[in-house]
């Protein structure tokens, strides 16, 4: 998995993910990237999932873990551009209601200020 971080207005960190978030390939990387942002005091994080091709239960577990660790630090973690299959995987485990999910990057960024 490839990750890159860009900063949006209001200090929102947009994490663009590309590739797989699966066991042994991308799951740990996701956690480490989020932890690094949180350690740097960057607690408003928007994960752009548009180019994520595959996710499994480990990847879902890492997403949930990241959500919890960011929330516990007083931050917010939201999701952008969920591919349909990933949306389905979150829906069947009722996690879709846990995450704030956006289709528009500008709306998602603005939501952090609310």
């Amino acid at each position: 998995m490839k990750t890159s971080v860009r900063e949006a207005p209001g200090g929102v960190q947009i994490l663009d993910l590309k590739g797989k978030i699966t066991i042994g390939s991308g799951d740990i990387q996701l956690r480490e990237t989020i932890n690094k942002l949180v350690e740097e005091g960057k607690k408003n994080i928007l994960i752009n999932m548009q180019d994520v091709t595959t996710i499994d239960s480990s990847g879902i577990g890492e997403l949930v873990g990241c959500y919890t660790s960011v929330t516990n630090k007083g931050g917010k973690l939201k999701l952008l551009h969920l591919p349909p299959k990933i949306s389905d995987v979150l829906t069947v485990t009722q996690l879709i209601t846990v995450f704030d999910v956006y289709e528009s990057e500008s709306e998602a960024v603005a939501s952090f200020a609310a």
């Binding site: 042994g24 499994d56 873990g65 299959k85 069947v92 485990t93």
Partner: protein, 155 residues
């Protein structure tokens, strides 16, 4: 030979894999080959391969604890238009009934415990069986609609 069993053209596939996550995709690729004669919706194919991924990940991580001296045994076949997958590890086994419900509110935000749930969601049949001499066997079955079989549809 007379048999009412309709097997896949590729025939049964039997593999023994080392306990590396990298092997999951190779097994998924071969499983995809078994499904090729069936004109399955792309989504169905995706969910089947995800269920296989979860079963293999479970065997490698929880069963064999990534011990490279232990193998994961995988049998794949299509019998009577149903995909049958058997995944066996060489680990200590576990009690499937003891796996927490990932939908329970107190488990919703746990970082693990969803693999078996996904298998049950995406497949028609999921069975667990402790193996004599150690290890756990997972059996997964998915009916592949006969109407969707490519060669029948095309004629």
């Amino acid at each position: 030979m007379t048999s009412s069993r309709v097997s896949s053209e590729a025939g049964p596939i039997r593999m023994s894999l080392s306990s590396r996550f990298e092997n999951i995709e190779m097994a998924q690729h071969l499983c995809g080959k078994l499904l090729e004669p069936y004109d399955l919706p792309e989504e169905t194919r995706h969910w089947i391969l995800m269920a296989l991924r979860e079963a293999l990940a479970n065997a490698i991580k929880h069963g064999n604890a990534q011990d490279l001296a232990k193998r994961v045994h995988l049998d794949m076949d299509v019998v009577d238009d149903a995909l049958q997958l058997t995944i066996r590890d060489e680990g200590a086994g576990f009690d499937p009934a003891g796996v927490a419900d990932p939908l329970a509110p107190e488990n919703r935000l746990k970082t693990s415990g969803r693999g078996i749930f996904y298998m049950k969601t995406f497949m028609d049949e999921v069975r667990f069986r402790p193996v004599d001499g150690g290890g756990m066997e997972i059996f997964l079955k998915k009916h592949l609609t006969r109407d969707g079989k490519k060669e029948e549809k095309g004629r």
